[in-house]
């Protein structure tokens, strides 16, 4: 076990995988600099700079994966996936079915996501719900270094496409680049538990589709992921003060969802709060409601999500993204019903 930052845990997982398997390559804009440690070690053939042509190079990632490579294609910020959407929606996730199960696309799409540092509505989205809506696509969102490394290893081992999302508040270098953290005159509400932690060497794979109970409780289940998970944990003491013992679950994977874990916890507590930094409608929080309803569970339900375009102004942004106050209020309202 070694202490690592969130970013270096991912680097470490990639390094481990690239060392073991020379079919693993990394493509993306500026990867020579962003992944300079990998570049220095593995060179320009395996860590390859792209033009700003996401549609072409993500599409090429699909072809390369079909033809034997295990590409990690970086889309810088997940917001930019919009210009390359076809490669996921109509190509990567369709090949297994179209080929009658004979061909698959072992592709990892890596992108940074999430807000909280004042970059505005085109750079701070999560979009994991929308992505999870494509049948055949796995979507993972780690909340700490060990999960980040473990999920990256599992993504690399998966024979089907996986989107790996890295929250910018957890990755120091993104905050430095995009938030201008180096100037020292700004500060961000960075969850310490998420940004640094113990990681095994080599990392232990975390299975895709498995959530984790982070805090046990019996009054209420809170399902969350990414940075929001830490906001939930921060809200626990104030809930405990009011005698409410909440169970907090880190979903870790959006697709596939850990249905059993969700249903078990919801059945136990009878109250479900989804805290999701992604947009509120037609996404993860809705799917969780459906999973429970399909399981025949009749529980109280509420959600704290992002409701519209993410505002640029820090004050507005803080209110728009799930924050501790909104979480605590929603949990309280629910528990006292």
């Amino acid at each position: 076990m070694t202490r690592m930052t969130f970013a270096s845990a991912i680097d470490h997982a990639l390094e481990t995988a690239m060392e073991r398997d020379n079919r693993v390559v990394v493509l993306g804009e500026d990867v020579t600099m962003l992944r300079r440690n990998l570049y220095v070690r593995f060179g320009p053939k395996r860590v390859r700079q792209t033009p700003i042509s996401e549609a072409a190079f993500l599409g090429a990632g699909v072809g390369a994966a079909m033809a034997g490579l295990r590409p990690v294609v970086e889309i810088m910020l997940v917001d930019f996936i919009a210009v390359a959407y076809d490669a996921l929606l109509n190509e990567a996730t369709k090949v297994r079915a179209f080929s009658g199960g004979k061909w698959s696309v072992p592709l990892v799409v890596r992108a940074a996501c999430g807000g909280g540092y004042g970059d505005g509505g085109q750079h701070e989205q999560c979009l994991w719900g929308m992505l999870a809506g494509m049948p055949g696509l796995s979507v993972v969102v780690p909340s700490n270094p060990a999960d980040a490394a473990g999920l990256m290893l599992s993504a690399l081992a998966c024979d089907d496409p996986v989107v790996f999302l890295e929250h910018k508040l957890l990755s120091d270098y993104w905050l430095d680049y995009l938030g201008g953290a180096s100037r020292g005159t700004v500060s961000f509400d960075v969850p310490a538990e998420g940004t640094e932690g113990e990681v095994e060497k080599p990392p232990r794979p975390v299975p895709i589709g498995e959530g984790r109970v982070v805090a046990q409780g019996s009054d209420l289940s809170i399902f969350s992921l990414g940075v929001s998970l830490h906001r939930c944990l921060e809200a626990l003491p104030s809930l405990a003060d009011k005698g409410i013992r909440a169970e907090v679950i880190d979903l870790r994977s959006v697709a596939p969802l850990d249905r059993d874990l969700i249903v078990d916890s919801a059945r136990k507590t009878g109250r479900v709060l989804v805290v999701d930094e992604d947009f509120i409608g037609f996404g993860l929080s809705g799917e969780i409601a459906a999973v429970m309803a399909e399981a025949g569970l009749k529980v109280d339900f509420a959600r704290v999500c992002t409701e519209g375009v993410i505002p640029f102004a820090r004050r507005l942004e803080d209110e728009a993204l799930p924050n501790v106050r909104r979480i605590a209020e929603a949990a309280l309202a629910m528990a006292s019903r």
């Binding site: 549609a55 072409a56 072809g63 033809a67 076809d86 369709k94 179209f98």
Partner: protein, 342 residues
């Protein structure tokens, strides 16, 4: 200079043609659902290019994917079963004619216009990393050349010196749109501007295609990067089978009864101010149909007829009869299997 083996090329062209005709027949009989885009007219382009294909090379195809797969040697009956939606089909009935995949042949296709370009770039990237000397071919149409997927891929391939050959089958149409009317500049010059050799060839002359493709393939195998081939060819069967435009041209009376009245209503709707202009617009529609039909029936140069002239009559007849029976055998094999499923 090397010379093409005309017999081999002609055999491929004949195989593709007869296969497409068999598909057309099955489609007419309602055994193939949905759209069916044939590659009739493109045979010389496909044969001339793929004659250079070697084991280990990859194919990225568009919505007219059957001819290249026939040339590539994919089992014909399994393709027929696939487009009829049978479990024994190449893709277990899950793909259909726009989504044919053959892993063993490193061949994939897509119904999204232009997406064969990035797919081919990916195949080429894998070749560059894992099997230097192998080449990826991307086939697409003139209309696709305005799609960002293609334009970005031209740049990507050039920047990465990918072993990729872009083959643009220029039939001058994208469904009902004359490509010229929505395209700025010349496509060959456009491709060249991304930093790769671009060849314009008459795609009805298989031997000319063969020569250009040979240069492109040698360049790719040598690791010197991509090339672009712009090959003009006729669109003999319309955009897809049952193409409504061709229908109007073929059965003008019958179709006018259907299409006419709403058009007349549109012409004569109040206020009538712009009647003369409206006549002009109606004229444009008529002209489009006439051009399209005319190209189909009057001007179209059949690449097979051209190819046949390069052969002795005896050779032509022998090759055609072999190809015909190969296809016939595949059809009966497929129909038999299909029958068993019913």
């Amino acid at each position: 200079m090397m010379k093409p083996d005309i017999e081999r090329l002609y055999r491929q062209m004949a195989r593709m043609r007869f296969f497409e005709e068999a598909q057309a027949d099955l489609w007419d009989r309602g055994l193939i659902p949905g759209e069916m885009h044939l590659g009739i007219g493109e045979e010389a382009v496909v044969a001339g290019v793929l004659d250079h294909l070697e084991e280990g090379d990859a194919l990225a195809l568009d919505h007219r994917s059957t001819p290249p797969l026939v040339a590539r040697g994919v089992d014909l009956a399994s393709m027929l079963l696939e487009v009829m939606g049978e479990e024994e089909g190449l893709c277990r009935g899950m793909g259909g004619h726009m989504h044919l995949f053959s892993r063993e042949h490193l061949a994939g296709s897509s119904g999204i216009v232009g997406s064969s370009a990035p797919l081919g770039a990916g195949f080429a990237l894998a070749a560059q990393c894992l099997s230097p000397g192998a080449v990826a071919f991307s086939f697409f149409g003139d209309g696709a050349a305005n799609q960002g997927l293609v334009l970005e891929s031209l740049n990507l391939a050039s920047a990465w010196k990918l072993p990729q050959v872009f083959v643009c089958k220029d039939n001058r149409w994208a469904i009902t749109t004359r490509t010229r009317s929505v395209t700025g500049g010349c496509l060959a010059r456009r491709a060249a501007s991304f930093g790769m050799p671009a060849y314009r060839v008459d795609g009805t002359q298989v031997e000319k295609v063969w020569v250009a493709a040979g240069k492109a393939v040698r360049r790719a195998r040598a690791g010197r990067g991509p090339s672009f081939i712009l090959a003009s060819c006729p669109r003999m069967e319309g955009h897809f089978l049952g193409d409504p435009l061709l229908r109007v041209y073929r059965e003008p009376l019958k179709q006018t009864v259907e299409i006419g009245p709403p058009l007349a209503r549109a012409m004569l709707s109040k206020p009538l101010a712009a009647l003369i202009q409206r006549c002009g617009y109606l004229g444009n529609i008529g002209r489009t149909i006439a051009t399209l039909g005319g190209e189909r029936y009057l001007l179209a140069i059949d690449p097979l007829r051209r190819g046949a002239k390069l052969l002795s009559e005896e050779a032509r007849a022998r090759i055609e009869s072999e190809a015909k029976s190969e296809v016939a055998e595949a059809v009966s094999r497929a129909m038999e299997r299909r029958g068993r499923n019913d």
